[in-house]
Amino acid sequence: MTIPRATPDPSDTRRDHGPMPDRQVSVGDGTRGPLVTVLLPTHNRRRYLPEALVSVLRQTYRHLEIFVIRDGGEEVSDIIRSFHDPRVVFIDRKDNRGKPHSLNEALARARGKYVAYLDDDDVFYPGHVGTLVDVLEGSTDCRVAYSDLYKTYCEVTPGGDRRVLSKHVEISRDFDRFMMLYFNHVLHVSLMHRRDLLDKTGLYNEQLNILIDWDITRRLAFFSDFHHVVTVTGEFYSPLGECDRISYQRRKDAQDYLRNVVAIRTTRPPKPWPKMKDLSIILIVDRCDERAVNAILRIWRHTFHPYTLRIPLSPADIRRLNVDMPNVDPVPVKPLSTPAEKVDAALRRCAGDYVALVPDRMIIEEMWVERPLYALMHSTAREGFLLEGATPQCWAAVLRRADLDQARRAHTHLPVEASLAAAGIRVREPKEEELPFQFDEWLRQAKIAEADGNWPTAARLFERMGERFGNQRWMKAAAARAYFESRDYSRAGQLSRQVNTECPTVDTLLLEAKVRRRERDYGTAIRLLAQAEQTLGGCTPVPAHPEAALSLV
């Protein structure tokens, strides 16, 4: 397969400038494609490690280097030796130092152009690496790609065997940078990225003990869009009775969990950021007192968009300021400076795209700045947006830095709000449809409808969500199920067939089979169910309607 020549982009800040040479990438064996590094850290999972490793060694894409890193715990060198595969590099460490350290240790030795990841109790399907390499070497300008995974619920027998009860694609979400800043929506095992991106993002944070995958995917989002491959290429296991690790950690030590979350959210990789806008928050305080400190702490706790917090203070107050937090920039101003003078002083130090002006008596809660900021990012008008809870007595807003700067230069003698009006910059409240996470709010409503047994409403919501927000495969599958429950079997059959033509899952195969059986089309039902059973038994799924899939090529 010949990859088309990429068009050079003058704004491209990547090191390899100029047009990409034509490449021949053979998905079948990958011997002439770029080297891919697969990282497989392991700790006390002797029972499942062989299956995980086999799934890597059996990739149709062959040009791999596979790092297995023993992070203390049980010996596994005998297992590794038994494979006799020269592509495997075994790092055998006796002491347990955590997953981030294990990954960094391997990355220090990695040579691949791309990096992929596998946990020692999960599996890739044979086409996983080839599918993602194909995309990254192809016409996308993304340097990160990810696929869909089955979450496999299983029972573990006394002997340690895993008996599969179900496989579900629970999330199949197209890349959403704003969501990624708030929380992760890309599974680590589904991810592949260019290794040289880590020169920009930095390596794995060894101070974190959970959510390390979100930390890296969030940082990658500063430098690249992610290409979502809507294909199931692997599985991660969820034994019944075992707590979800994140939920467990959250319950066990809420403060530690919060520490990890805030540490991630306040991480700012070195600039330039080709894909991320920066925000300066100017906190307007009278003095460094308890109210000011509380405001700082609340900003630190509740803000998820990357920011720098600039606090205009007198030199004496700067000396009194005793907060050990990242991204805080005290700005020296004369005592008795007016609010406008404080803003001007801080503004001179702002380098990002957006500025939020916040008095310390402002109520700061979840999404306090992100909601109006999102509206501003998607606005084409010359305007700013009020923060939620802003009043004429407690005025707070987010603006484009260039607009604020221009208004202040032209009308320095006026208060900030008046100078914006004089410069013709309107500041208003965002409308409901301008706010972020519309998809998630609709999803919440649809799930409520499902739980209430209101299937027709749920079905319509899912279909409209697919039309309006994307995530088509996910929404079609959800709508198909809701239509089936509401006894609209015709529509359920249409939607499930559409999904099964391109990317079947066990759920959609089962659903379409039930519809076909109702229609007494037993032959088709048997074929679909047999395919579902194959997938549950461990075989790679293929399109349920191959003859229809061929017509798409």
Binding site: Y153, R163, V164, L165, S166, K167, H168, S238, L240, A451, V506, D507, L509, L510, A513, K514, R517, R520, Y522, G523, A525, I526, L529, A530, A532, E533, L536
Partner: protein
């Protein structure tokens, strides 16, 4: 905590593989692949040991292979797992019917019908058994009740017409057949039976 939602979440995690195998077994049964059906039901039973469905399926497959003892065991397991499993009682009735124990078959079909008033299989089984026993009063009653709830069901109408004739009520039989033919003018069996009824009526005059 919402118990209903927790139960749904548990079912979501546990039931899929079982459901695939059970559906596959049912489909194989529908096309007569009883060996394949049995394989699927056995696997389904191991995944859902508390579910009666696979055992009902195994019983049906065994009946088709004329393995009545095996079928009876399977249906009894299903009844034990779910005392309200109408299909299991219908299955036991079929076994009894095959063994020509018609009174027991009738009672088991009746039990099945009490659990599922829409069970056409139970009704038609009762019809067949009643004909064997030459005892029509009870089955006529249940068919009339069913027809009240499902007006226009021509298979039940035809069965009733035949029973009325056997029960020496040719006038009622004629009325029923005329109603049936108004719904399905091309119903050949009904037309033939109507001719027979009219012949009987003519002979009675």
């Amino acid at each position: 905590m919402n118990t209903a939602r927790t139960n749904d979440a548990d079912r979501h995690k546990k039931a899929q593989h079982y459901e695939v195998l059970r559906e596959l077994g049912d489909c194989h049964t529908s096309v007569g692949n009883y060996t394949e059906a049995q394989r699927c039901y056995e696997k389904a039973a191991s995944l859902g040991p508390d579910e009666p469905g696979p055992y009902v399926g195994l019983g049906v497959a065994a009946i088709q292979k004329n393995k009545l003892d095996e079928a009876e065991i399977a249906f009894r397991v299903a009844c034990r797992l779910d005392p309200n499993c109408a299909k299991a009682y219908a299955g036991l009735a079929m076994v009894a019917q095959q063994r020509r124990d018609f009174p027991q078959a009738f009672d088991l079909y009746l039990r099945s019908l009490e659990l599922d008033t829409d069970s056409i299989a139970a009704l038609l089984g009762m019809f067949q058994v009643s004909c064997e026993m030459h005892s029509f009063a009870k089955i006529i009653y249940y068919l009339e009740v069913y027809l009240q709830m499902h007006p226009g069901d021509t298979s039940v109408m035809f069965a009733l017409a035949a029973l009325y004739l056997k029960d020496n009520r040719p006038e009622r039989s004629e009325t029923m057949l005329l109603d049936l033919l108004s719904l399905e003018p091309a119903h050949r069996d009904a037309a033939n039976l109507l001719e027979e009824v009219r012949h009987t009526l003519a002979g009675a005059i």
